[in-house]
Symmetry: C2
Subunit: 165 residues, 2 copies
């Protein structure tokens, strides 16, 4: 975590670079588990460590859950991934880090969808009274029911389901 070269100027690849390149650009060593985690994140945005672990297990059996946690922690530190923590749910990870977007979460099934922030940059909203705080981020989470759950009566199980548009 104490990498001398702090934030490598990740010159924001114009298109999804492959895992190894992304890792190198973020100043991280390229290892099999890390590559697999990056790929898993690409395959499934908004996945929990556990879900990523399962995906990784398919392409790289023998990888430990701890390694997935390590990789994710390193990614977040290196600015390669972002972690969101919806109330009452395990943390979720995503690769979209360069824009200030928000999330839409289904109360019933937990599906998550991205919402673009028109403002784009960090504090897109400002409190009416900031109580002396120096605010740097406004985190916005929209709660509701996804189309499927609204259709099926909202009483569904918290089955894991990705909010595909």
């Amino acid at each position: 975590m104490t990498s001398p070269a702090t934030v490598a100027a990740h010159a924001a690849a114009p298109h999804p670079a492959d895992a190894a390149t992304r890792l190198r650009e973020a100043g991280l060593r390229v290892t099999d588990p890390r590559r697999a985690v990056v790929d898993a994140l690409g395959e499934r945005p908004h996945a929990s460590a556990d879900e990523l672990f399962e995906i990784v297990a398919r392409s790289l059996p023998g990888t430990s859950l701890q390694s997935v946690y390590n990789a994710l922690g390193d990614f977040v530190d290196a600015g390669l991934a972002r972690r969101i923590e919806p109330a009452g749910r395990p943390g979720l990870f995503e690769l979209r880090v360069d824009d200030n977007h928000h999330h839409l979460i289904c109360r019933s099934c937990g599906a998550v969808a991205d919402v673009d922030c028109v403002v784009g940059h960090a504090p897109c909203l400002t409190p009416s009274d900031s109580h002396g705080f120096a605010v740097d981020t406004a985190e916005v989470t929209f709660w509701g029911l996804c189309g499927d759950c609204a259709a099926s009566g909202s009483t569904s199980e918290p089955a894991q389901q990705e909010g595909r548009a």
Copy 2:
């Protein structure tokens, strides 16, 4: 008490009623632990179950942490309290439930302050693309440094500190 000056059209007492009354009004049985928890919540908004347990222990030793959790859960179910869950921190409870206000949280010491409303571009409060979701709530959390932490160099310990209202 107070002069019944204007017609209080709303059922809820316009000013902080005492614990027992609040409990009864919420349809809950009045017990010592519950009364103590309501009082603790009044004394310290945005406290965790653990903190409330410590406060309760002063006025009512022998109360178990589990009872505090039970009480808080019942309060939330009864609409007497609200629970917020800032990323990376234990859940916090507050008695302000009748308005949809937001929160300002100090990254350094964890102080929390209430924000009545928010100003900014409308699209930030109503998703630009709701991906088929039926949205019912927009939760906004502002992250930053409170005045004290900003002054003392931001590198302070996560010492528990309440953002005085």
